[in-house]
Symmetry: C2
Subunit: 237 residues, 2 copies
């Protein structure tokens, strides 16, 4: 039995791994449901909005602007056009507020990322809107610690493969840290890498997935409660 | 007197350099002005929309979704909220139509790009929406000819510098081809590279700039009418 290759490169997801994001969407959804509460209950609004977002995903992609356009489309459809243009203007303003929101780092990120950057090559792998992700990274103060930053339109096996090739990353020396089983964990395990799942308080419905079941993959899968546990976990590998 | 270094890497802009883009915006603007014609003339609508876009640029960035959100905001403001939600829905649909629009290559692109890819390293340098640019590149059929693709949130001197560093590009061996003096030509000349301006029929107001006046820069600046002239120009360098 041989010991596993040493980890040399750490991949980090950004939203809800390094800084809060779903909590900003949660607050915006609360206000959005408030706008539509004259017509529909929260559960119906959320279900309908999610269906619109999934229908528009291929065309719009991820991010706040896509979300805003789907929210406007849903609001018009759900009210049979009765929603006022002022209320639609309020949806645009909600999106602006989300884009301008301060970046709030998750517990431990401010200490753990710089400490790990001294021992590993750190790569940021995030999906979403180009300018919004760049802005959040800049505001986070963490940018100098990342050797590479990849803002991607999707995070699946073939995209990770392309990123590995581009940066000369050997999957068996790579470990990904993120809050999405679907986007951060399963594709990396598929490619032979290791992955640490750090669940966030809320998981967007589109990012939900089951943990790995295949024992070969499960042996490369780890779960922690907070980024603070990451250095110890890495030391034990 | 020494002869200039040989060009080894060609940078290409995408929208309105390789494929039509402003013509799609032009058609959407025509319909948008039609929607608002009960309230304002075309010139007033276009001036007001452009002002909104510039105000929102830092927050929204470039691309069709940003344009759509600014269009909605402008329409509500310009009609004092009198625009109907069906008309707003029509603006969302205009954006969807633009995103789903077929990619129509510019004259010469289909022949010139593959031919040049055999002799130079080609790099695509485009700004805009991540998913939209990726989709257009895929649809264009030109993707296999590019060694690197950079979708950027802005194209200014510091961003070109970063791209040069990332890909080990020496500015004096780099030549950029594009339709925007502001984004494709001037920053590259500033850094010591060469640049070929291929004007498109329409230039978005935010991309307008004066040609280089400094003689040292002007000697590295070229203008052609069509991509078809590019191979000959390169052969004469």
């Amino acid at each position: 039995m041989h010991s596993p290759a040493p980890v040399t490169t750490l991949g980090f997801d950004a939203d809800d791994t390094l800084w809060h994001n779903e909590s900003i969407f949660e607050e915006a959804h609360r206000r959005y449901c408030g706008l539509l509460s004259r017509w529909h209950d929260t559960e119906t609004v959320e279900r309908t909005l999610f269906a619109t977002e999934m229908r528009n995903l291929e065309l719009f992609g991820y991010g706040i602007k896509s979300h805003a356009l789907s929210s406007i489309e849903t609001a018009i459809a759900m009210t049979q056009g009765q929603i006022s243009s002022e209320e639609i203007r309020a949806i645009v303003d909600l999106a602006k507020g989300m884009l301008a929101h301060p970046v709030e780092l998750l517990e431990g990120a401010a200490e753990v990322v710089p400490a790990l950057a001294r021992r590993y090559r750190l790569v940021l792998l995030t999906k979403g809107d180009l300018r919004d992700q760049e802005r959040k990274l800049r505001k986070s103060g963490l940018e100098p610690h990342f050797a590479q930053v990849e803002i991607l339109s999707e995070k699946d096996t073939s995209i990770y493969q392309r990123v590995f090739a581009r940066h000369g990353i050997a999957p068996e020396q790579f470990l990904m840290v993120g809050n999405s089983l679907k986007s951060d964990i399963l594709p990396v395990l598929d490619l032979g890498g290791r992955a640490v799942y750090v669940p966030y308080r809320i998981t967007w419905q589109a990012e939900r997935a089951e943990p790995p079941k295949d024992p070969a993959q499960a042996s490369r899968f780890f779960q922690i409660q907070s980024l603070r546990e990451l250095p110890d976990l890495l030391a034990r590998l």
